[in-house]
């Protein structure tokens, strides 16, 4: 279980976190929704070690993540797909994927090969153009590549920061579908941050609503989706 307790992070005036606590169940999809500037990205960046919190704790399978370096957190099985199709455009598609598996080469060389092959099965669009620079990809393909880069490290929990941002609905559907399948079939734990609340709540088991850095609702996704007044108050629709 990913457990976040009393997490406070100072950032710009908005998008800070104020005493946030919730947890994400293993093997389930938990989504964090909220308006722009609610602190959703800050939350994921803090879990990944890119930002240091002022106070509070983040534990994954009972080990404390606060104070660990980002690369160590990845090695502990917590992988982040940051906002905005985070791939390295100068590298080829194959290199971007391999990059995510580099740290496992020494210990599990054969599994790395398998994992890379699996990524191409999962995202066939990428398989045809392995040697092409990833700058040639479309926005949706880049997002897939970013997810593949995170997945190839065989994480136990995947943190996704607004994967639907700027993408066509059809592609969003494909990407979210793949994530859902991974969760249901292979037991991947997912923490999905979304501004697009409907899409997220449709696939999620559990939902956390964040507003101005505070948790205002923490309940099953179904309930949250049904609560019209809450959504109108915090999301505007």
């Amino acid at each position: 279980m990913l457990k976040i307790e009393n997490l406070t992070v100072n950032f710009d005036a908005n998008s800070a976190l104020d005493n946030v606590s919730f947890s994400a169940e293993v093997g389930k999809i938990t989504t964090v929704i909220g308006a722009n500037g609610a602190g959703k990205s800050t939350l994921l960046r803090t879990i990944s070690g890119l930002k240091a919190p002022k106070s509070g704790s983040i534990t994954w399978r009972d080990s404390e993540l606060v104070g660990m370096r980002p690369e160590a957190i990845v090695r502990a099985g917590v992988a982040l797909v940051p906002e905005g199709h985070a791939v390295i455009p100068e590298l080829t598609i194959d290199e971007n994927i391999r990059m995510g598996a580099l740290f496992r080469l020494r210990k599990a060389k054969s599994d790395v090969t398998t994992a890379i092959a699996e990524m191409y099965e999962l995202f066939p669009q990428l398989a045809d153009r392995r040697k092409a620079p990833s700058s040639t990809l479309s926005g949706g393909e880049r997002q897939m590549l970013a997810i593949a880069r995170a997945l190839v490290s065989r994480p136990e929990i995947l943190l996704l920061d607004e994967p639907s941002l700027g993408l066509a609905p059809l592609i969003v559907k494909q990407i979210i579908g793949i994530i859902e399948e991974l969760c249901r079939k292979s037991g991947l734990t997912v923490l999905l941050v979304e501004q697009n609340a409907n899409t997220a709540l449709d696939v999620a088991d559990h939902g956390v609503l964040l507003a101005l850095g505070k948790v205002v609702a923490d309940r099953p996704a179904k309930d949250l989706r049904a609560d019209v007044s809450l959504r109108e108050a915090y999301l505007g629709y």
């Binding site: 990845v74 090695r75 992988a79 985070a86 390295i88 590298l91 391999r98 990059m99 880069r149 995170a150």
Partner: protein
């Protein structure tokens, strides 16, 4: 014709040495975002160590290997002892502005250069020492014809091309190389991929230091070894990077060969005194028309 060929060969052989210096500078630049002005100081220091070994009648190649290791070790030490603590200070007010964040480490490297040079002076009395070449530096003749190049020229060109190719292969074909490129291009994504970017950066410093040491040993037979003997090489190598574009590895190497040839032709056809004016003219021309270097892709790293 003979003069022309001599200029051509000397230029190529010197250009190859400059290329090595430029390569070392680019490796650190891309990894750590600074120009390491101490680089040839490290090389000078290791050349003194090598010369001490050779003076004890130990084989040249042992000295060669020790110098390469020493250059790399100095590079790694600078990263760990100076650059890492510097990066931690990023909260201080003067480092809050991006232009200063880039300038301060450069100034630190100038300080390190001063330390290395004066330390060499104190240890080795600042004496100018001759330095042997592994093969003959005298004019080569095949049959009765005197060739416009020496055995050493050929040795330098071959050795350095091998190193350039090996470095390119290392960067492009190996996992470590991928990690180095990824860390240089986008540190955050690299870290999120589990790459230990700090160690990778130190590796870049080590590699750069070793390359610089090789370059230092290759010019030492001509320049001798003294605390300041490699300053010129540093400046030319740096200018090569600026001309070629710091972000392009092969751009800087090309810049180095351009400079090598320019200097050699000025030396032979004009006067050695004009060398710096020539370099300055080329530099200014490139900076006016291509402010980020001849081979820069897009905009230069915004500093």
């Amino acid at each position: 014709m003979q003069t022309f060929l001599t200029a051509l060969f000397t230029g190529t052989s010197h250009g190859a040495i400059y290329a090595l210096v430029a390569l070392g500078l680019v490796l650190v630049w891309r990894g750590a975002g600074l120009i390491n002005f101490a680089q040839m100081g490290q090389a000078m220091f290791s050349a003194y160590i090598a010369s001490t070994i050779i003076n004890h009648h130990i084989n040249y190649w042992w000295a060669f290997i020790v110098a390469i290791i020493a250059g790399g070790a100095l590079g790694g030490a600078i990263d760990v002892l100076v650059i890492r603590p510097l990066k931690k200070k990023s909260g201080s007010s003067i480092l809050s502005s991006p232009s200063m964040r880039d300038a301060i480490p450069v100034i630190a490297s100038l300080g390190i250069l001063g330390i290395l040079q004066s330390a060499a002076g104190m240890i080795w009395a600042g004496e100018e020492r001759g330095f042997p070449a592994p093969v003959s530096t005298l004019g080569l003749s095949i049959g009765k014809r005197a060739m416009p190049f020496t055995r050493f020229d050929i040795f330098v060109i071959v050795l350095i091309w091998l190193i350039l190719i090996a470095t390119t292969l290392l960067l492009n074909k190996t996992s470590v190389g991928l990690a180095m490129r990824a860390s240089a291009l986008n540190m955050e994504v690299a870290r999120l991929s589990g790459i230990r970017t700090r160690s990778i950066r130190t590796l870049g410093w080590i590699l750069s230091g070793s390359l610089a040491s090789v370059a230092g040993l290759m010019v030492a037979p001509a320049t001798n070894v003294s605390p300041n003997s490699l300053d010129l090489l540093m400046i030319i190598g740096f200018t090569a990077c600026v001309i070629g574009g710091l972000n392009s590895l092969w751009g800087s190497v090309t810049g180095a060969f351009i400079l090598g040839l320019t200097i050699s032709f000025i030396n032979i056809y004009d006067a050695p005194g004009d060398v710096f004016l020539g370099i300055f003219a080329i530099l200014i021309a490139v900076m006016i028309f291509r402010p980020s270097g001849l081979f820069a892709k897009g905009k230069a790293r915004n500093v």
